[in-house]
Each structure stands twice: as structure tokens, then as C-alpha cells.
Amino acid sequence: MTFINYASREINCKIVYYGPGLCGKTTNLQYIFDSTAPQARGKLISLATETDRTLFFDFMPLELGTVRGFKTRFHLYTVPGQVFYDASRKLILKGVDGVVFVADSQEERMDANIESLYNLEENLQSQGYDLLKIPYVLQLNKRDLGNIIPVEDLAAELQRKGEPVVEAVASSGQGVFDTLKAVAKQVLTELRKG
């Protein structure tokens, strides 16, 4: 949910990275954190298990710059991907302004992608949102691996509404900022509509 403060001239928006376990949601945030100037971002908070699996969420505030005199800040969140953390995923979607679905391009993860996408649609609905109406980007991650599904096949299965599809290798940063830009642009365009 967007928060516009006319006194401090700030706009805050919330973007959530969604997807199956180990698809690279946290890696997206980690790359953004590592490649952004410290003055433009806050801490990267990771509520993770001892084995570095996301337990509740990762969070990172990012200031993109000024538009028409207003500081534009995006709060980036990831959800825990593992199936049994569904209650946590629902909570994190509250107040979301834009969603990135990070799909794992590997053949053996296709079922997990589909299950997670259905789960996203359901959980958005339970919070009163419609996937077809909110700013949304599909990221096809892990394009550097050997056993991956062609982009056309993944898009045919996972694309929902003609949303931007970004090929990525989050670990090396490929496509990470393109994804963020694509979703941020939609969020700001929604704000333009009022």
C-alpha cells in the first residue's frame, strides 16, 4: 500500500518477490543490496533459518531517487518459498503494490513453479487483490544452468496477462535490475492513474 507523505515529500511502495523455494528471491535482493550505494539503501534484513533458508521474510528499503520533488522509496520483500510457510506468505502480501514472480528455469522445478504461482493467485485473492490487475513481472531465473526449459515454453506455462518476462541469472546480476525496473515502472504508472 502506497504511503505518500506530503510533509517529508516521500513516497513509499512495497514490492514482494514471490516464487518456489530456492528459486533465487533472496539472491535478487542480495544482488541489489551489493550493487547499490549505501546511501541509497538501508540494511538487508534476513529472517532466515540456520541453513540460510528464508524463514519469514527478507527486507530491504531502496531509495531510487526523486520524482517531481518526492523521494521515491521502494520496500523490497521476499517471501519464504517452502510450501509449509504459507501463513507467512499471506502476511507478507498485505499492502503489496507490485509483485515479482521468480521462476526457476530448471526442468525439475516446473511443477514447483506452477504450484507457487497458483499459491500466489490464491493468497493475493485472500488479501483482496487480483493478479490480473496489480503490477506484476515474471522473472525466469537461473538461465545459466544446463537443464533449463526454453523461454517460450516457460512463458506459455507461467505468463498470466502479458506481463513483462525477464530472463535472469540473479547470482551474477543478469536481469535483476531489469526486473526491478519493470515492476517499479508499473507501480509508478499505477500511481499516475491515481
Binding site: 500500500m1 502506497t2 505518500i4 510533509a7 512495497k14 534484513i45 528499503p61 487483490y129 517499479a184 499516475r192
Partner: protein
Amino acid sequence: MPDQPILLREQQYHQIKAVLARLRMDAQAKVVFLVDKDGQEIASQGEVGNLDTTSLASLAAGNVAATGGMAELIGEKEFPTLSHEGEKESIHISVVGRLLLVVVFDERSSLGLVKLRSKQISHQLAAMFEEIAAGDYDDLDSPFAGITDEDIDSLFS
């Protein structure tokens, strides 16, 4: 349905800051801040210094959301207050409608005093936010109304 965006006028922001300043004084707290349930910090007062209030706001909201989820599972609507007491620093969180009132305090104050003062001021904050939510904002120029694709692109250059 999702909550509507919060639009805060300058005057409203300063009113909120004034209420928080009074709470901070009455509760002898270090920092007082107001956060929405989605984790956005709305205003803060006190010895903020190096305190990362943005992260604290997000974690406070996560904390309330998680305990709220637990409440539902055992048949409660929500847990309206949460307290975390440390050796020196403590945090008290109260749920005020769609807002969270977060008070950080140390040994100069006590949990009882913070609870009492937070409760006393909650009604006032709730009333202020009802007014904010019901307000007519047609006169406010959206900073994004005239935004161009180039403006958006420039954020990423």
C-alpha cells in the same frame, strides 16, 4: 479489500508528530514511532540517532502480523499489545486500528508506564487516522499525475 493508500498532509503529519512527542515525554521513552501494519514508518519522535527506524518498522509489522496469525489460530481476533523486554532496552507495540504505535524505552521508564500512556493516546491517534482515511484529497496534486516515462527511466539511470 486492500487498504487505501495513506495520504498525509503536512499539517496532519505535524499533528501526529506532536502527539508522539507528548507520548514520548509522558512515557519517558527514548523513541516513539508510528508504523502502518504493512511496515511503512509514518512518523517518529525521540532519540532516533543511529537507530534504523525503517528496518524496525518493518520488523515490528512482521512481528504483529505473525502474532496476529497465531491469535487467529487459537480463536482470538488479535493480540492488541506486544512487549519485548531486554536487559537495558525494551519495546512496546500497541495495535491502533491499521497502525502500530511502537515505543522504545530503557530503565528510565517502565513497562507499566509505557502501557498506560500508550493506551491513553491510542484513542486520539485512532480518531486522527479515521479523519485522515475519510479525508477529501482532491485538492492535493499527486506528484505522479504528470510523470512521464522519461521521469521513471531517470530513476534507474
